[in-house]
Each structure stands twice: as C-alpha cells, then as structure tokens.
Amino acid sequence: MPDENGAHDSQLLKGVLSMALLRLLAECESYGYELVGRLHELGLKQIHEGSVYPALSRLEREGSVTARLVSSNSGPARKYYRPSPAGYASLAECEVAWTTLVRALEPILSRPVPRRPQEART
C-alpha cells in the first residue's frame, strides 16, 4: 500500500510480483528490463531489476512462461517472455486468490481504527 510519499511496501509487492509479471506478460510479451520499466510506469518504483529478473527465471523454471530470443541491435539477443498455458491457469488462480483476499480484508480495513484497543475480558 502506498504511504504518503506514494511508496509501496516492498515485502507486500514481492508476494504479488509473480502475479503482476504474468499479468503484464499476458498483455504484451516483454524482456526483463522492459518489464521493470512497465512496472515503474504503473507507479511500482520499489520493484527493482534485482527482484524482477530472478522472478522471471522462477516463472520460466516453473513452466509458467515461455521465452524466445530476439536479436537486438545494441548487444546480445533479448529474451522475451510470454505466459504459457500453465501460466494463464496460474494467473487465473492468483487473481481469484487475490480478489478473495481483498474482499476478506475489506470489511476489516474499512472499520474506523479505535484510539485504544478494547481491554480483554477476564
């Protein structure tokens, strides 16, 4: 969640990074650095390359994404990722889980926070 400076909790973001990556890749196949740029454009500037690249490797190893090499005129070929059928299934599951979690938390978070916690009844 963003604080007053618009910063997000990096630990919270790590938990949903795979889902965010799969979702972005489902929209448009991308290579690692491009994906980081897309995340930053969405305001997720706390997510750095050092988190995204291993996450992509993990998704590839799990079979959630497939990759292809596309030659680049500035250096080595770039590795473009897109979700595999298993990745789409995983994304659908993650989205359901995320929506369920948000719905479950919403009633708790929408209550006003009391000044002091209620005393335990003994």
């Binding site: 290579y31 690692g32 650095y33 491009e34 980081v36 750095h48 390359e49 050092g50 988190s51 690249y53 291993p54 490797s57 993990r58 190893r61 680049s72 005129n73 500035s74 250096g75 080595p76 070929a77 770039r78 590795k79």
Partner: protein, 184 residues
C-alpha cells in the same frame, strides 16, 4: 553489424557486475544455465545502461551477492561442486601440514640421536605419513591415500548424496523427517 551507444567503460562495469554474480553461481548450477543467465543479464544491463548509464543500471540490480543467491534458489542443483572442491582443498592442506609436522618430528629425532638419515612409515601404506630424511628429505606430495581423502572430503562437502536418485534417498529422507510441529 551491431551498434551500441554503451561505451567501453560502461561495458566493463557491466561485465564486472556479471562476473560478480557469476562467482556466486560458479560450480553450483549447470554451466549452460549460467551462460544463459549471463547473456540475459548482459542484454538487460545494456538496455538499462542505454537509458540511464551503466552505473545506474548496475546499482538497480541491488546487492549482487543477493541477486546471485536469488538465482541459486531457482536453479541450484543437488550437487554443490564448489563446496566440495573447497572441502577437498582444505583436506589436502590439512593432511600435508600434518605430514610436514611428522617429517619435522622425525628429522629432529634423527638429529637428536646423532644419526645421518632414515626413513619412516607411520601408517603402513598410507602415503602422506611416510618419507625419508637424509641430506635432504622426501615426502609424498600426492599419493593414492591423498586422493582417497580428498574424494571423501569432496563427496561430503558437495553433499553428493543429494544427487542420488530419490528412490535411494527415500530411506534417509524419512529418517531425517520433514514434518514440522509447532512449539507449545
């Protein structure tokens, strides 16, 4: 022909960062995977360097050791050859240090007894602890016994048993136990 806006200095900085990450992976994940990872990192870093400069591109990776560890979590093989190699090396050095101590003790004994030389064999058939002292000295640098000890150290250090097929390891796995019980 490839054209790049990344200077030689920037490429050097990028290569050093890749080398640092590769050091974490060396001997721990298959060589082909390492090469693939390095190529991907290189292309991403060059793309980042073209936008923000190599220094920013590398710093955006964060702690390079941690990044290497993250890749290790994804790709780590069952056999840790680097740890095995270190264990074998340390064993060799330790055995040779002990063998040298034995030799010096024997040499002192010969000198104290007024002798001119002799040979010794502390453990019959065990290369490291046999040698001779005359005008100079002779000791085994590498014998079958050294190799056996180093092999055992390598197998233990690399946790070679983890590379065994699951069927063979099953008995050991159930003995080790993976069930977790919460504390009181």
């Amino acid at each position: 022909m490839n054209q790049s806006r990344v200077s030689f200095g920037d490429r050097l900085r990028i290569e050093l960062a890749i080398l640092r990450i590769d050091w974490e992976l060396d001997g721990r994940i298959p060589w082909r995977v390492r090469r693939r990872l390095k190529n991907e990192l290189r292309s991403n870093l060059i793309a980042a360097a073209e936008s923000n400069g190599a220094m920013a591109a590398v710093s955006q990776l964060g702690d390079l050791r941690a990044l290497g560890a993250s890749y290790l979590e994804v790709y780590r093989g069952r056999l840790d050859a680097r740890r095995g190699a270190w264990a074998a090396f340390i064993t060799y050095v330790a055995v040779q240090a002990l063998a040298m101590a034995v030799l010096l003790a024997f040499q002192s004994g010969i000198a104290a007894g007024g002798g001119h030389g002799g040979s010794y064999e502390l453990l019959p058939g065990f290369g490291p602890f046999q040698g001779s002292v005359n005008h100079g000295f002779e000791m085994e640098i590498l014998s079958p016994a050294h190799l056996v000890l180093m092999l055992v150290a390598f197998l233990i250090g690399s946790r070679a048993w983890r590379a065994l097929p699951r069927g063979i390891r099953r008995g050991r796995g159930s003995a080790a136990g993976t069930d977790w019980r919460p504390g009181p």
